[in-house]
């Protein structure tokens, strides 16, 4: 990943974090925002993907308690460069996830619906030529549990099933739809 790409990702993530953190939770009553108890539950979480780190990629998300029906919403971005050897690739993706918490918002058990869109462009580096780009759309239903072992530190494993559709943006790679089990593990901070 180039330095400029890293900077761009950091900027987008920072902007998303600020936007979600600064915005009032959907459904909040004005009075509720005026009188906040001192021991209020954390309503924002920022996380990075452990799975991404293990594959030299980067994925991060910011999550906000929606303040109603034990729902929270998360927006994420991801960047990876998976192809090596005679090839090179860059994948840029974004995700949106709606989580329904079982008992307490932002911690414990949850179920989630996640939509992810990513673009992968591929090069054959030995001949310095593009061999196409693909658009991947994934819709996943998952369940997970958020541990909060210390103050705002949170660890969130999840498991689910995804329907994944790929289609060629250029090049000749044909469209395909398939299903796959998916696993997730994020670590981050709540505030």
């Amino acid at each position: 990943m180039t330095r400029s790409a890293r900077r761009a990702v950091a900027r987008v993530f920072l902007a998303m974090s600020l936007a979600l953190s600064a915005s009032p939770a959907l459904g909040d009553e004005p009075e509720a925002r005026v009188a906040q108890p001192a021991n209020e539950q954390p309503r924002t979480a920022v996380s990075i993907s452990v799975a991404a780190l293990s594959s030299s990629a980067f994925a991060a998300e910011v999550e906000r308690d929606l303040g109603r029906r034990k729902l929270s919403a998360a927006l994420g971005i991801g960047l990876r460069s998976a192809a090596m050897g005679d090839y090179g690739s860059i994948t840029i993706g974004g995700s949106a996830e709606l989580r329904r918490w079982l008992r307490t918002p932002m911690r414990g058990w949850f179920a989630a619906l996640r939509l992810e869109v990513a673009r992968t462009s591929m090069e054959q580096e030995t001949e310095d030529r593009s061999i196409g780009a693909l658009l991947t759309t994934s819709l996943a239903l998952s369940a997970g549990y958020r541990f909060v072992p210390y103050r705002g530190l949170q660890l969130t494993p999840s498991i689910g099933a995804a329907v994944i559709r790929e289609s060629g943006l250029d090049g000749r790679s044909p469209a395909s739809t398939r299903g796959a089990p998916v696993l997730g593990l994020t670590v981050g901070w709540m505030f």
Partner: protein
């Protein structure tokens, strides 16, 4: 609201609804029943007079498990790209102890060539691809199809190597392994069967004039990537055309999702990078359909 969700789901799934014609359970060697059948996926539309390029797919499963159904999605996808795709069964251990499984794969290839006109295939443009144990079998018939020990005694007779080879997630050698799965497939230890271990090892059979290879391997595969790199180096040293795609973060059955935040339980060759490389390689070696 519900009907909107249903419509969205139907639209999402609908991309898979129309597809190529599928000829299921076509026997290529009637002596072995279901173990010697294949499913053939034929693209929509008229075929050129010379026939279409084709890809024969060999499933994995440690030579002991799996079936042609494992490659359904890949076969359909290849057919959508204009290739005739044939996903094959072959005899599994114990019936498929070496060299039986290799002979079955070559019999299937010979069947496709002998019946090319029936399936609108150009017999000179058939590639072979496989994953894991199927990767080993595909790699082996790429460099050792003409060894007498591999010659099938089926109705269609022996045949030459495929026009291109795409082995995924395999080691390319049987030597110096204490793996029980390999010992079971070989029917004995290397100490007892040294010559068979050599003929069953693709890297030992590399020679000039082998078909083009695209070797695909996950960086974190339990089947160590060094074996794939050694095969690539051996093919190149012999003057053959070979491309190598190593996939960062990919394992044998776990691959990073495209936004990298999750891990999908699927083969490395299902990653979009692998598909882009595969289609490009097939177009360049077999010619566009």
């Amino acid at each position: 609201m519900l009907w909107r969700i249903a419509a969205l789901a139907a639209g999402f799934a609908g991309f898979a609804c129309s597809g190529p014609a599928v000829l299921a359970d076509v026997p290529y060697d009637t002596r072995f029943g279901d173990a010697a059948t294949m499913d053939i996926y034929i693209p929509d539309g008229p075929a050129p007079a010379a026939g279409r390029p084709a890809v024969m797919l060999i499933h994995g499963g440690a030579w002991r498990f799996g079936s042609k159904d494992d490659y359904d999605a890949a076969a359909e996808r290849l057919a959508r790209a204009g290739f005739v795709a044939a996903t094959i069964n072959y005899r599994l251990v114990p019936a498929g102890i070496y060299p039986a499984a290799v002979q079955d794969c070559l019999c299937a290839l010979s069947f496709l060539r002998a019946n090319a006109a029936t399936y609108d295939i150009d017999p000179e443009r058939i590639a072979v691809s496989g994953y894991s144990a199927g990767g080993h079998l595909s790699s082996l018939i790429g460099v050792a199809a003409e060894l007498s020990i591999h010659a099938p005694d089926c109705e269609w007779g022996p045949t030459g190597p495929p026009a291109a080879v795409i082995p995924g997630a395999t080691s390319h050698t049987m030597l110096d392994s204490q793996n029980d799965l390999i010992i079971d497939f070989m029917g004995g230890s290397e100490e007892d069967l040294p010559e068979l271990y050599a003929t069953a090892s693709p890297i030992e059979q590399v020679h000039p004039g082998a078909p083009p290879y695209l070797v695909i391997h996950g960086q974190d595969d339990v089947v160590e990537v060094e074996g794939a790199i050694a095969m690539v180096d051996a093919l190149r040293a012999a003057g053959n055309q070979v491309f190598f795609l190593e996939l960062r973060g990919a394992g044998h059955v776990l691959s990073p999702s495209t936004d990298s935040s999750q891990i999908a339980v699927e083969a490395a060759t299902d990653m979009p990078e692998a598909w882009a490389a595969t289609i490009d390689f097939l177009d360049r070696t077999l010619g566009e359909p």
